[in-house]
Amino acid sequence: MGPGALLSLEPPPLPSSAHLVIHVVALILYVGAFLFWLRFLLSGARGDGPRLASWLAGIGVVAHGAALSHYVLVYGELPLVGLGPALSSLSFSLGIGLVATVLVVREAARVGIVVIPLMVGLEAVALGMGVVPAPMALDFQGAWFALHVTLAFVGFQGLALAFAAGLLFLAQFHEIKAKRLGSLFRFLPPLPVLDRVGRVGLWVGFGALTLALSLGWAWTVRYRGSFQWTDPKIVWSVVSWLVFVYALWARRGSGGAYKGALAVVTGFGVVVVSFLVVRFTAMGTGLFL
């Protein structure tokens, strides 16, 4: 996510049990929200599952925000450095994106059935690894770094929302094409709603990631004087950016909604797989997402 730097030799502070408890509460609320969505889907899209699921997810996001705020108070830094804090912040960012989506387009709340498991996964891994600061690179500080990482999170938040909307779009499209007007058809929102969420997610994500990468590039050139194009995290960042470009390009022209959905779903897969490859083969410092 950022340029490499010298590491502090000070050991990280011990984790505070209070913010971990709030993290667990948030995780439980997310799991509960997902289970309500699942129950709603399996029961033939009947009952007041969506309302309960949305409320649980919303309360979970508030709890998650409280846990991260507590982290800032305890450790005196933003939860951006170290895999645990960064994944938890990314999960929170997805939650914020989901809540914003629901508030703007109520019908789009059902993308929660895809977004919430992503949030659960990220938060569970974060808790498993420990939401504690990593030994911090000394120049991984200051406003530029916070802005760079926050913008990158918004970028991936947009991509994840577009992926969720794209996945549901493809499912709904195939239900209608296959002439199956069953419970999945009833559960899924109309195609234009999903298309709109996907389009907005892509544009917001693309804008944010472009700014994040530009900021990282400018800082590196300014303070390091050179730019390592072969650095795995830079390769991954550029791959992610190209995925956005591809997905936006695919949306152009006739039948663009379907092609765009297909592109964003495959693109999201590419981003995740390339991250895992980079993470488990090249890096391992704990600083890189």
Partner: protein, 468 residues
Amino acid sequence: MALAVLGVSHHTAPVDVRERFHFGPHEVHEALRRLRVEAGAREVVLLSTCNRTEIYLFPVEKPEELAGIQGHLLEKAGLTLQDGEPYIYQLHGEGVVRHLFQVTSGLDSLVMGEAEIQGQVREAYLAAGEVPVEPALAGTVLHRLFQSALAAGGQVRAETQVGEGSASVASVAVELARKIFGRLKGRRVLILGAGTTAELTVEALGREGVRGVVVANRTRDRAEALAARLGGTAAEFEELASLLPSIDIVVASTAAPHPVLTQAMVDEALGKGGSSPLLIVDIALPRDVEASVGDDSRVFLYNVDDLRKIVDSHVARRRTALPQAQRIIQEHARQFRDWYATLEVVPVIRSLRARGEALRQEETEWLSRRLAHLPEEDRARVEEFSRRLMNKLLHDPTVRLRQGVAEGGGPELVRAVRFLFGLEDGGEEDAATQGHGDMGVPGESEKYLEDGEPDTHSLDETHSLERG
């Protein structure tokens, strides 16, 4: 004294007869007013939809009272007693409750589970409340009956699959269009041919906000006639290619022996029409649209077999939910019956409390005369004490009396309370409810009461009983 309903429905009368009995929205208030003023109905609600016209009444003392109401119905239909009576059915007592609950839940509808009836029942109930007469037409009993019916209908829809999935070609088309286009407001629809199903489909789409109807037919005259009815414009088949790019939904139902809409025409239209998808509902036999048209990812093509399969599967699923729906209705009917039973204790409780209050006042006055030296504040405390004591003494008997009556011990309990507390007979008001915990059946009309398990055909059975 009893609940009663009198009416015609799709079970008993063909559409041309039902039309004659139908009350339009502007006629309902006047009809209700006349039923009160001229026929003497105390509580009355008039439900009139395209599939039924029913008059719900309370109380009905004798079967002859219904003759006057029936006279109003026949007058409205312009039929003689001999011609109209075979179409009219009557239900009494608990049969009315079960029937209304089934109607409101959509179990008695022509298309089982249809949702519109719930709103129509609510409107009928509200209309009765809007007529400016005293006492209100939707009085204590009908108010409770309709509230219970709406609750039962709501629960049936929420908890069962009775209303799930579209059960007609028109509603499937609307459901599809909603999922494909989101909001339908402003969408344009093209009708090929002038069939009834196509017309119904377009009417259903029109209710969702679809505008810009274009009717294309082999003969211009028929196209213009249908377009005039639907508020659209007419066109000829030769204009199809130029019309298609601006169209979102096509409903095809011509009698043409070969496809009217070809792959080439659709390809060309989609090329010009931007990225908007195209929904084609082809209900013609033989088909009006080439099957290969549906291969395009921008086209959603449904033919008559696809639609029939969907409708059949939805109807089958609705039927599987019937037992669950009936259980809900039975439970609501039981609750209504319990409430109805408690009505008979209201006059007794009122008498009991009046008796207690009279005794309390008598005794506090007696005491006040002897404690005249007490300050005003202390006398107020004595008054308060006596009131609290009376309320506490009467609380348990009141609660247990209601409970006992709800559990079926009505007349005996009421008699016992009257005897023990020396209460006078409740007179006319008491008689209005006493002894009718089963909602009563007037005179000799027990033959109308349904004793079996309620089902969707109960009305037919009742009607045949009546005619038999």
